[in-house]
Amino acid sequence: MVELLENAWTGWLRIADGGKLVALFLVALLFLWIGRKQEKQKNLLRYGIVSAVCCILPVTAVALMLYQTRFYDYEWIWSIVPVTVVTAYAGTKVLAGCWQGFRREAWRKGLPVTLGLLAIVYVCGGLGGTDVGREAERARRAEAENVLEALKRDNTDVCIWAPRKVMEYARRLDGSILLPYGRNMWEEALGAYSFDVYSKGIENMYQWMCIVEETLTEEDYDRTDEMAEKMAEQQLTTGECLDTARQAGVDVLILPANTNEALLNEVIKCTGVQPRQNSGYYFFSL
């Protein structure tokens, strides 16, 4: 219960910090409340106030979070609050009043108010608050596409084990590709969509690949010690992870071209095959 209350409070702070659209909505509610005697849509106003209060007060917010069964973030309980509708309704009333029913002659009062409101909405919107990362995503997607294209030239219905950025897009781009683990390994929320859980061996494979990605050789900077340290810390061995991969049905292991040389040699030694290089990656047939 305490945890839920804390979630509700931090969720509200997140909403309040991220952008001020909710604040604008509260101002809109206040504006409509002041003019409630002439208000025709009292139901909407009444409902807007009650729902907003329920989402802001931690105790009622917790009740709503329990209603949506904890899975969704606090932000989603705001779905029940007509934020956009009420804000736009109040905005329309203000503008219609200032423009005197949208008459051209009323521009002296109407235009400054319109521009002012536009500026307020722009500032409150918090443009760029959430980084959707379109450019980065496009680049990662294009890279994954190249890798899969190189892979599919020789193989069909293949199970691959690759760095996260390739695994992330593999099944989105091609449903015939199989993976030992998917995005639900690193995106916890996706785990709720199935009762299945990954075995310890598969989790070790993921950890091993994370170490590979964290210790890539960049500008001739060697990270062998760092890699060995991390492997020891997590009690991982390349041989064991490759065995688990074979048991899990992995056909092709894909490693970045700038994989740590010591690690690469270890993989070559354990698999007993020379990798094929293409699109900036090594391909090992297991």
């Binding site: 139901n43 934020v83 309704y89």
Partner: protein
């Protein structure tokens, strides 16, 4: 990417929804006439001043609800009879064909029965169309320009927010295995223990999969391009309905209301879970459809006191969105507005 097929498919879905919805509106009008004849109409609230009137945009929105209804019927039937996805597609085409045929028959019947009235209206010139003045036109131009800009953003510049969502993978796995929920969409291997039964009845991936199969498009194109456009248009139709309720007689206010909605969508697009974010970055998700189409439409229906039609929105949410074992946000909104109305009527009576 070639955008023409994307736009064509989105347009086809909207046309089908509009046609199905129009059929439903005709059915509603018959039902209401029957109720009036039986003197039931007098007991219905909101009789005065045409408060309960349905608009053209309702056709599209009710069509969306019908489409979801048909999809969930086909989906549930396929899941629980263990049929293949190909059969599911055939079943969907059959049921959709029947629904379209039924709507066409209703259209013909309605056209036939209302021809006389229309001829009379034409002859006497009783139907007056209010002409748009300068301010009206300016507002309309601003609104359509903003909408066109958002549409262009969706088509050419938009990115999708896929965190916490696996719709594309799910649709891909349906098409690949020719079965529904046969394999884990994340890995492509068969489930060891399965998935929650509440999740099994959600029909959106099946609907998207059927569209992929019929149109020959990739799951990614349908999910991240076609569906957001469908939701985008439906969303503004729902907000239009609210505008009609809030400003029934004033077109300028209504257009201004819609312009402010579009601006709020733009500016709120950077805020996670806000309507603008849902509209411009994850329009294909069940949560986006709920927040942008179902809830606004539900509000407009509740403002018109069409409580029975509002129930359709609650049911649609249960079919497309995992509310876990809860009853969903639409129910809360509907119940809240119903109670607000009851309180008003109670207060008015006292």
């Amino acid at each position: 990417m070639n955008f023409i097929p994307v736009l064509m498919l989105a347009l086809a879905i909207l046309c089908i929804c509009g046609f199905l919805g129009s059929g439903m509106l005709i059915l509603f009008s018959f039902g209401e006439k029957y109720a009036a004849r039986k003197r039931l109409r007098e007991t219905l609230p909101g009789k005065k001043g045409g408060e309960r009137r349905l608009y053209g945009a309702d056709a599209l929105l009710i069509g969306n609800l019908v489409l979801i209804g048909l999809a969930v019927t086909v989906h549930v039937a396929t899941v629980f009879t263990g049929q293949s996805f190909s059969r599911c597609t055939v079943f969907f085409i059959s049921i959709m064909g029947a629904a379209l045929l039924f709507a066409a028959v209703l259209f013909l019947f309605y056209g036939f029965t209302h021809r006389k009235g229309k001829c009379r209206e034409k002859a006497t010139g009783t139907k007056k169309v209010k002409r748009a003045d300068f301010a009206d036109r300016i507002l309309l131009v601003i609104f359509w320009a903003l909408v066109a800009a958002q549409m262009a953003w969706l088509l050419f510049n938009g990115g999708v927010y896929t965190k916490g969502d696996m719709t594309v993978e799910t649709v891909g796995s349906f098409l690949q295995t020719d079965g529904i929920y046969q394999v884990d969409p994340m890995t492509g291997y068969a489930y060891a223990t399965g998935i929650p039964s509440r999740l099994k009845i959600l029909c959106l991936p099946t609907l998207y999969g059927i569209l992929c199969r019929l149109w020959g498009m990739s799951p990614e194109s349908v999910v991240t391009m076609v569906a957001p456009i469908w939701v985008f248009v439906s969303s503004y139709a729902a907000f239009f309905c609210i505008g009609k309720c809030l400003f029934p007689e004033n077109r300028k206010n209504r257009t201004c209301f819609l312009i402010i909605i579009v601006i709020i969508m733009w500016t709120g697009s950077g805020l996670y879970s806000m309507d603008g974010f849902n509209l411009l970055y994850c329009g294909y998700r069940g949560a986006a459809i709920r927040n942008l189409v179902l809830i606004p439409y539900l509000i407009s229906l509740c403002l018109r006191k069409r409580w029975l039609t509002a129930v359709l929105c609650i049911l649609a949410e249960a079919c497309i969105l995992w509310t876990f074992y809860g009853l969903g946000a639409c129910l809360l909104v509907g119940a809240g507005l119903f109670l607000a109305e009851r309180r008003r009527r109670g207060g008015g009576a006292s």
